[in-house]
Amino acid sequence: MAIVRWKNRDLAYPWDKNDPWADFKNLQDEINDLFNIDRYPEATGLFDRSISPAIDVLEGDHQFTVICELPGLNQKDLDVSIASNILTIKGEKKDENINKKGKYYKKESWTGNFQRTLSLPASVDPEKISAQLTDGILTITLPKKEEAKTKQITVNIK
């Protein structure tokens, strides 16, 4: 059995065909790519593990949106909770092949328990939080409380 990762340079950089520096450029790109991989999350809580899924947090005028990449997880493996302004995403990513007799030739994905804690800068309405898991992406919408919303105040000049 041989299965080799294949890279077609001509496909990736077709305009570089006649460039003598193309190989160096490719090498530079590949090394840069190595450093660009976000293996370590930027923001973690005190009790968070070093392995944790990548998240995006967006602040809108009326709500916060938290997007979390969780491939291979089912709804029952996940636990999302909020206490005052602290959002916790907990879960377990299981290894499907753990009880099987086969052999791994390559394993890049991680498995195990994870936890991410986020403290949100403004108070959210805990009643209106909604979460959705589609295609391995968890989207949590947290509407802000009325008093925390940015308000437009018109000033009348007399």
Binding site: M1, A2, I3, V4, R5, W6, K7, N8, P14, W15, D33, N36, D38, P41, E42, A43, A54, I55, D56, V57, L58, E59, G60, D61, Q63, F64, T65, I67, E69, L70, P71, G72, L73, N74, N97, K100, K101, G102, K103, Y104, Y105, K106, K107, E108, S109, W110, L118, P121, L133, T134, D135, G136, I137, T139, T141
Partner: protein, 119 residues
């Protein structure tokens, strides 16, 4: 030049986490592609080349980013497969953002037990 422009306009692609597992005469390649649905997944076999392209659904909510860790771009994996893999026995499935490819090995490649006939 037109080609170059078309290529630059394309979204970046990168390789996501990939596991290769072998059991019972099958090679299972699973790739994590969160955000890819069944319709946006494209798998093709061209001779010895196996290409998997997954396009992410882009629906960006309003607001500005406070934390941004998820990479923007589509997923692309390319593998060369050798003649031990039966081209007619390739199955693919996607579930919860994990693409799973089952590549069947040819019968001739599987371990065989040889019966000894005592005379």
């Amino acid at each position: 030049m037109a080609d170059r422009k078309a290529l630059e306009a394309k979204r970046k692609t990168y390789m996501s986490c990939c596991d290769i597992y072998k059991e019972n005469g099958n090679v299972i390649v699973s790739m994590e592609m969160p955000g890819v649905s069944k319709d946006n997944l494209d798998i093709k076999v061209d001779g010895d080349l196996l290409v998997i392209i997954g396009k992410k659904n882009v629906n960006q909510p309003d607001g500005k980013y406070m934390i941004r860790e998820i990479r923007d771009g589509d997923y692309q994996h390319s593998f060369t497969i050798d003649e031990t893999i039966d081209r007619n026995k390739i199955e693919a499935s996607i579930k919860n953002g994990v693409v799973s490819l089952k590549l069947g090995l040819k019968e001739s490649e599987k371990p065989r037990k040889i019966n000894i006939i005592a005379k």
